[in-house]
Subunit: 208 residues, 2 copies
Amino acid sequence: MNILTRRQREVFNYLRDNHDSFACPPSLNELCEGLGIVSRGSLYKHIMALIAAGLVEPFTGNKQGGIRLTQQVIEEDSTLPKGLPFIGSIAAGKPIEALATEGYMTVPDALKTDKPCYVLQVKGDSMIEAGIYDGDWVVIEQCSCAKNGEIVVALIEKSEATLKYIQQTAEQVLLLPANANMTALSYHPDQVEIQGVLVGQMRSYRFH
Amino acid sequence: MNILTRRQREVFNYLRDNHDSFACPPSLNELCEGLGIVSRGSLYKHIMALIAAGLVEPFTGNKQGGIRLTQQVIEEDSTLPKGLPFIGSIAAGKPIEALATEGYMTVPDALKTDKPCYVLQVKGDSMIEAGIYDGDWVVIEQCSCAKNGEIVVALIEKSEATLKYIQQTAEQVLLLPANANMTALSYHPDQVEIQGVLVGQMRSYRFH
DNA sequence: ACAAAAGAGAACAAAAAGAGAACAAATTAT
DNA sequence: ATAATTTGTTCTCTTTTTGTTCTCTTTTGT
């Protein structure tokens, strides 16, 4: 049994990473498009190599066939540690509870706590002066109270979630953006519900 | 069996430190890029020396071959935890090569590339306007060239490593801080050596 | 100044990867 | 039903990448 070549490995990784986004076994054309290959014949050779390697098996559910991952590979994948749940993006105006887990993200221990945490992607520039940019990921510790000066995920009027500095007294809750172009918002404590405290932040520079 | 030369040792260290970031046996071209060597022929000599030293062995899994670490070397290495090597801090004035791996850090896939990467902790405020703060961690892809406008780890005069924006022409290399209080530095291309390109950034808010 | 080490670059054969055409069976549309 | 499209499969041909070997220049240490 031969070891995989570079391209074969890429094809396999693609299959593994996307195996649950395919409703039914993907066709060669679909895969070509996803992998950036023009010719089905070329891809076919790679698939055959993966079958020979026992990583993928022909699918016998219907006459036309298709392929799927070996049961063993699927199990391996599902036993892998998942990391923190990635919930979606914030500042889109939806409460966190309403958002389903979209996936999982492996996060360095230094960016999380030993309490339950989740990951959000930041939309908008409301925290740029705190070094949190549009598109950044933030790690949030799930809790319902915070100290003054912390950055929190706050749900306003049970409808809109935002990431802001918090400053609270008995009479009012101040939500302060870190952006000179935006204004602080003042609420009655009953109007604001804390959904978590910022414990980590991450940014990718992979695509400029 | 001869003792290794300096460069051979460097090549071996590179292979050992990154052997799990290679999906399959790395090609000479890949290694050249990672090590900053232009000529495959040059690298080939080093590889042959490592094979002669028994640290690396030709890989017979597929026709085209390739190389991999000796099983013995892998076992020595695999007792270590996974993740990216954490090298230390930057802007301390020491070249990266001089710094030993201090530990390993698990990093989200989105913050790294499929090439070998390492993690540094940032000291100082030279990049605050790019949202990179004192104490942040940065993920660096190990490579020896960069596009203009990218943020790089640059080794100046073989003695001092800094994190800066780069702007290079045939005559000069500009290293631009992201801090209005600091000035850009201009060097002759020979004075500057690129040690990697920024691909990710992380910050912990756990202790204010 | 000398020798060892390191690098650049060209050349070459083999392997890998890809394009594209062809065809029959299966599927879908009309 | 027939026609049109999509599927897996097989084939040849071309391009790209790979390991390997060479010669020549540059760097480095003594």
